[in-house]
C-alpha cells in the first residue's frame, strides 16, 4: 500500500464541486477576454461621441451575430485539433441553395431552410470524410474545399435573380433582435454540446492528444467527421440569416469569413493547436473584433487600416497562445 506519510499523492483537500465553483471556474476562464472587450469598448466610448449610444452597441452585436454563429462551428473544429478553411465557401453555397429552393423551386421557406441546413452539413461531412479516408491534412483538404465549394456556389447561382424573399423569411435576419437571439442560441447549444455531451468532450481529448484518445477507445475518425458536420451546419445557419437580412443571395458572399471566424476563435483564447477553448470566448472574441471595426470606422479610420489592425490582433492573440503553452 502507498506510504501514508508521503506527500506526492496528496493534493489540497477540497469539498465536492458545486454549481458555484463550476460557475466561478468558468468565469476564471473568460474574465481576461471579457476585460479586454470592456476596455476596448471603453476606449472608443471616450474617444468618439458618436459611439455613445445604445444603437451602436446593438449594431455591434448584430453585425457580430452572423459571423459569430459561423464561428461557433469553427470553435468546435479547432478544439478538436482540426481546421476548416472552407466554411466561407460553404456559406456561399448554402446562401445560393436557400435562394434557389425558395425562388426556383417555390418551396415554403421553413422547408427551404431545412434543405439548406442539410446541404451545409453534407459539405462539412465531405470535408471530414476526405480527411479521414485520404489522410491528407485538414489545411489542404479544406483549402481545396474553399475553392471547390466556391465554384459549386457559382454553378448553382449563375444567371439567377435570387432576391425579394417572402416576408416571413425576411423576419429572421432583419433588425437587431432576431440575429442576436439566434447568436446566443447557437452559442448556448454549442456550449452545452462541448461541456455536457460525450462527443463534445471527445473534441477536447482528440485535440489535446489524438493518440491517447485513440488508445483509450475513442472513435477518432468518426468523431472528426461529426465536428466538420457541425462546422458546416453553423456555416449554413449563418448563411441563411445573411440571405434573410440582405434579402438577396449571391455566390460571391462569404469571402474570407472563415478567416474572420478563426480570428474570433483565437482572439477569444481557444487554442489554435486544439484541446482547449470554449464558445463563450469565441463570442467575446467576435465582439472584440466588431467593436474595433465599428470603433475605428467612427473615428474615421479607413477599411484598409481596420484590416491591418485586425491582422495585428490575430498575430498577438496567437502569440499569446504560444507564450502560454511555453510557460506551462
Amino acid at each position: 500500500m502507498i506510504n501514508q506519510k508521503s506527500s506526492e499523492f496528496v493534493s489540497v483537500p477540497q469539498a465536492k464541486t458545486n454549481g458555484w465553483q463550476i460557475l466561478r471556474y468558468q468565469f476564471m476562464q473568460i474574465w481576461q477576454v471579457l476585460a479586454a472587450l470592456i476596455l476596448i469598448y471603453a476606449v472608443f466610448f471616450v474617444l468618439s461621441p458618436a459611439f455613445r449610444n445604445i444603437d451602436t452597441l446593438l449594431s455591434i452585436f448584430s453585425q457580430a451575430a452572423i459571423l459569430a454563429i459561423l464561428a461557433c462551428g469553427t470553435t468546435v473544429v479547432l478544439i478538436s485539433g482540426g481546421l476548416d478553411l472552407s466554411v466561407g465557401s460553404i456559406f456561399a453555397v448554402v446562401g445560393v441553395v436557400v435562394g434557389v429552393l425558395i425562388k426556383d423551386y417555390q418551396l415554403a421557406y421553413p422547408v427551404a431552410i431545412i434543405g439548406a441546413l442539410v446541404a451545409g452539413t453534407c459539405l462539412g461531412a465531405l470535408n471530414g470524410v476526405i480527411q479521414v479516408v485520404t489522410k491528407v491534412p485538414a489545411f489542404i483538404v479544406t483549402l481545396g474545399g474553399l475553392t471547390a465549394y466556391k465554384g459549386l456556389a457559382e454553378l448553382l447561382g449563375s444567371g439567377k435573380d435570387l432576391s425579394r424573399f417572402p416576408e416571413g423569411f425576411q423576419m429572421l435576419g432583419s433588425g437587431y433582435f432576431a440575429p442576436i437571439c439566434i447568436m446566443f442560441g447557437a452559442a448556448l447549444l454549442t456550449g452545452l454540446f462541448l461541456t455536457k455531451t460525450r462527443l463534445g468532450n471527445h473534441a477536447f481529448a482528440i485535440g489535446g492528444n489524438e493518440e491517447v484518445a485513440r488508445l483509450s477507445g475513442v472513435k477518432v475518425a468518426r468523431s472528426r467527421i461529426y465536428y466538420y458536420m457541425i462546422g458546416g451546419m453553423f456555416a449554413a445557419t449563418a448563411a441563411i440569416l445573411e440571405v434573410s437580412k440582405l434579402n438577396f443571395a449571391q455566390s460571391s458572399r462569404g469571402v474570407s469569413y472563415e478567416l474572420f471566424a478563426i480570428a474570433a476563435v483565437v482572439i477569444g483564447g481557444t487554442s489554435l493547436f486544439g484541446g482547449r477553448g470554449g464558445v463563450g470566448k469565441t463570442i467575446i472574441g467576435m465582439l472584440i473584433m466588431q467593436t474595433i471595426i465599428v470603433g475605428l470606422a467612427y473615428l474615421g479610420v479607413g477599411t484598409s487600416f481596420q484590416r491591418i489592425a485586425i491582422g495585428a490582433i490575430i498575430i498577438l492573440a496567437v502569440y499569446w497562445d504560444v507564450w502560454r503553452r511555453q510557460a506551462r
Binding site: M1, I2, N3, S6, E8, F9, V10, S11, V12, P13, Q14, K16, T17, I22, Y25, K196, T197, R198, L199, N201, H202, F204, A205, G207, G208, N209, E211, V212, A213, R214, L215, S216, G217, V218, G275, R276, R328
Partner: protein, 260 residues
C-alpha cells in the same frame, strides 16, 4: 505468490511477429501470462518490448501470430478489442490527455451516460456518477487526489501515474499491461507506483509490466521474460535469478535458457 504450480494461463501469445518493411521488430514471440502473477518484460532498447505490448493490445497491426485468452483464440485488431477482452493498458507517455480533467481522463472512451431519454439521445455525461466512482476507487487504492475536476497537467508525475494505474483496476477486469510505469518518476514516487502495481494483484488482476529497473523485477515480479533483438531470449522465475544474470541475459553475455 511464488508458488506457481500449474496456475491457469490467462493470456497466451503464439508466434507474434511484426515487420516494418524489411525490419523485423518482433520475431515469432510466444508468451504466457498466468493468472494472478506479475510478469516482467525486460530487454535493451530496441529489443521489441514495446512492440510486443502494442501487438498484444491491438495498438499496432501485427504481421502474424495469435492471442489466446483463457485458451480461446481471440481477435485483437484494435485497442477496443483488447479492452473488450478484459485487457487494460497503460502506455508510456500516452496514458492521460493533459488538457482534460482527471474525471474525463479516467472515463475517456467509456463515459457514463445519464440514464434519461435526453441523456441517451445526446450522450449527456453523468459527471456526478463518474466522480463518485473515482472517489470510491481512489479511497480503495489509497490514492489521495481529491480535486479530480482539474486538468491532468496540474498533477505531478507520480499522481498522474497513480491515476493511469487506477484505470486498470476500474476497467481492466482481468489483465493489466503496463509499459514502464516508473519511467518518468523519482525514487520515492517509483516506490509508490510499484506498491500500487503489486496491489493490482489483490484486485484480481494479472499484470504484464515492461521495465528497465532490475530491482523492481526482483522485488515485485513473479516471472520475467527477457527479450533480445525481437525474440524471447529467456523466461525465468524471479526466485531463481539475480540481477547480474538478468543483465547478462539482456546483453547476450549469457546464452539463452528456458525456465519453467
Amino acid at each position: 505468490m511464488k508458488h506457481v504450480v500449474a496456475a491457469k494461463k490467462i493470456l497466451q501469445a503464439r508466434g507474434l511477429s511484426k515487420h516494418y518493411g524489411g525490419v523485423v521488430a518482433l520475431d515469432s514471440v510466444d508468451l504466457d501470462l498466468r493468472e494472478g502473477e506479475v510478469l516482467a518484460i525486460v530487454g535493451d532498447n530496441g529489443a521489441g518490448k514495446s512492440t510486443l505490448v502494442k501487438a498484444l493490445t491491438g495498438a499496432i497491426v501485427k504481421t502474424s501470430g495469435s492471442v489466446l485468452i483463457d485458451g480461446r483464440e481471440t481477435r485483437i485488431d484494435n485497442p477496443a478489442d483488447a479492452k473488450a477482452a478484459g485487457m487494460e493498458t497503460v502506455y508510456q507517455d500516452l496514458a492521460l490527455v493533459n488538457e482534460i480533467s482527471i474525471t474525463k481522463n479516467m472515463f475517456l472512451g467509456r463515459e457514463i451516460i445519464k440514464d434519461t431519454l435526453i441523456g441517451r439521445l445526446f450522450g449527456v455525461l453523468d459527471f456526478p456518477k463518474m466522480d463518485a466512482k473515482i472517489r470510491d476507487l481512489f479511497e480503495k487504492l489509497d490514492i489521495r487526489i481529491t480535486d479530480i475536476y482539474r486538468d491532468a497537467e496540474a498533477f505531478s508525475g507520480g499522481q498522474r501515474q497513480a491515476v493511469a494505474l487506477s484505470k486498470t483496476v476500474m476497467f481492466g477486469k482481468r489483465i493489466a499491461i503496463l509499459d514502464e510505469p516508473t519511467a518518468a518518476l523519482g525514487v520515492r514516487e517509483s516506490k509508490m507506483a510499484m506498491d500500487l502495481v503489486s496491489s493490482l494483484k489483490d484486485h484480481g488482476l494479472s499484470v504484464i509490466m515492461i521495465t528497465h529497473n532490475m530491482q523492481h523485477v526482483l522485488n515485485y515480479c513473479d516471472r520475467v521474460v527477457v527479450m533480445r533483438l525481437g525474440k524471447v531470449a529467456a523466461v525465468c522465475d524471479v526466485a531463481e535469478v539475480d540481477g547480474d544474470t538478468l543483465v547478462g541475459l539482456i546483453t547476450g553475455a549469457i546464452e539463452k535458457r528456458q525456465g519453467r
